[in-house]
Symmetry: C2
Subunit: 352 residues, 2 copies
DNA sequence: CTGAAAGCGCTTACAG
DNA sequence: CTGAAAGCGCTTACAG
């Protein structure tokens, strides 16, 4: 039954064609010093002619290595994730690893399924960029001895290599920028509480407000998913207040678009009556119609850092856990401006 | 050396624990009728207790089936692709297949590499949504007997299952909409010539203009990639004309954003002086600041159709090739309006 | 430097 | 209904 309907040639076929043993072919193709150069050359030539390719299934079964990496993201639809993936992919491909991207759609069930699947498949490593991550998933990876790095969202309960964003400093610098424009009542629309990044940004917001205004007003805090709809809803709640905030820091551009949308519906002028700062700098933010002031996150770098950490971990499983942080830069566009005069803000609010 | 440091249990381990032969465990787990129900129950219980999972590497090596599908996309950063992926993924997961997403970044080299990789890996099928596809890649898939479906971009030279968009009818209906608003000089900004969809839309545009205006003016045609920058550049070329077009149909929303950007820079009012229609309906198009009139493509459906075709093909490799087309719907928002009076258009153009 | 042998973890005829 | 055996395609000690 072997080699029916021109199936792929095997090591045996190559060996036969070369008149040597399969093990010699294997050693030659792996470029082991043990094989004589002439023999190597011959074997390589014939292997190529025959169109031989080693079966990763077979060699993976034998060696336990598959030269593949899995990257699990929670929303492949969000361009932020796409950029980060690219950063990781470039770094990995260069080292001859292949990247399998899996999308969980924010579903914990699907995420566990994928993780189990990749463990079964014996990928050489996993990069996890998912807000749906939970302890069991990560424990499963640890138990299976699969090198894992966490991306953007860190898990507090377990020590793991981590590629993330410098949140505290960045939040403080945006808020300083806003206060320098005269803003006092600054709202905050954060991400899901399950995200470590979202928590860090919220805490940084609070500590800044604490120091600057003497207290952080919980009425100025909103949170939700990273989506337009979520930002839209948060805004309606946030701007119903009197006096209402004159500026709002939003934890993600996608969410900020929802804020822009709601402000437009409510007839609130941006930036005259409301300044908005986003986070990430997605492609839409630079369109003149949007022109969102935002924190530009070096997305590719974030992915490249994750790849770097993973490669290190794979090379040295017992090394100390490491964290790599990327620092965003403020890009001032036209959704921010000087705070309106106190009276104006109050008037505007009471007109509602 | 077996089972050192709590490695995963094997079929043998389960068999030993149950006091049966490995083959019986295999048959039981595969739910073959040949195994007695009680034996099955016992085996299942113990297998579960031991945390046994069949090794896809081993079973793949033996059977040639891996229960995995690869989907190759050219730009994971474009939200259009993300949505299509989701549609395919949902359909596939439901049937217990896992989806590996690979991103080629438009690079032919990387695409060939991934395709070869997936062939080596013996995935059960491939969905190709890439503008970088070329004959050799597809031939490689065919030679390796890997069921393949083409998504959005079809290959003329080879018969393949195809999930795509109804372009001709859709283009005609948009153009009818524009002429009903009084537009005569309608420009067209298309996609890359390597994309079958782009070619179909261009041809549909030409045939419509032919019929409606007596001829299609090549000066009104532009093309480029599906990107903001590309749309931006095309617009500068297109609107330099005198008289300039009063409307433009753009082959993709991303490109249309670039048109919007350029129009804004050039001080051309939309829709008073220029009507713009996009294609796809990406998330940004519904933001009030953008509010782009566009053809909404049922993206998930597109992906689901591809999955359906692939599953069919896998079940029946010798069936006739099939094509599934999805029909977009016009969503009228605020970038389209009545054509300006002839004089106005001329005046505006001469003011430049 | 080369080859024969064992084994990775499964599945599938086949014999009992 | 159950078990012993062969083999998927590789790699890696080991003997020569």
């Amino acid at each position: 039954m072997r080699n029916n309907n021109r199936a792929r040639p095997t090591l045996r076929d190559v060996a036969k064609a070369c008149g040597v043993a399969p093990s010699t072919v294997s050693n030659a193709l792996a470029d082991k010093a043990v094989v004589k150069p002439e023999t190597k050359a011959l074997i390589r030539k014939i292997a190529h002619e025959l169109g031989y390719r080693v079966s990763p299934l077979a060699s993976g079964l034998r060696t336990g290595k598959t030269r593949s990496i899995a990257m699990i993201v929670s929303d492949i639809t969000n361009p932020f994730h796409g950029e980060v993936v690219r950063g990781a992919e470039d770094a990995l491909i260069e080292r001859d690893y292949h990247l399998y991207i899996a999308n969980t759609d924010g579903s914990r069930g699907r995420q566990s399924q994928y993780i189990q699947h990749f463990i079964d498949r014996q990928v050489d490593g996993v990069i996890l960029m998912s807000y749906a991550s939970n302890d069991e998933d990560i424990q499963a990876l640890v138990r299976a001895h699969v090198p894992t790095v966490l991306l953007v969202r860190r898990q507090d309960t377990v020590e793991q290599d981590f590629s993330g964003i410098e949140n505290e400093h960045s939040v403080h610098s945006v808020l300083e920028f806003l206060t320098s424009l005269g803003h006092q009542r600054i709202g905050f629309i954060g991400g899901p509480a399950s995200s470590s990044g979202a928590r860090e940004r919220l805490n940084a917001y609070r500590s800044f407000m604490q120091k600057h205004a003497g207290h952080a007003d919980p009425a100025l805090e909103e949170s939700g998913e990273y989506s337009i709809d979520s930002g839209h809803q948060s805004t309606y709640r946030l701007l119903r207040q009197n006096p209402r905030p004159t500026a709002v820091l939003v934890s993600e551009d996608m969410t900020a678009y929802g804020v822009l949308m709601a402000a437009s519906e409510m007839g609130i002028k941006v930036p005259e009556e409301l300044s908005i700062v986003g986070w990430d700098d997605l492609f839409a933010s630079r369109l003149p119609q949007i022109n969102l002031t935002t924190m530009r996150v070096p997305k590719r770098q974030l992915g490249a850092n994750a790849a770097k950490l993973l490669l290190q971990r794979m090379a040295n499983p017992s090394a100390d856990v490491e964290t790599l942080l990327v620092r965003p830069a403020l890009v001032v566009r036209s959704t921010t401006g000087r705070a309106p005069q106190e009276e104006q803000a109050v008037n505007a609010a009471s007109q509602e």
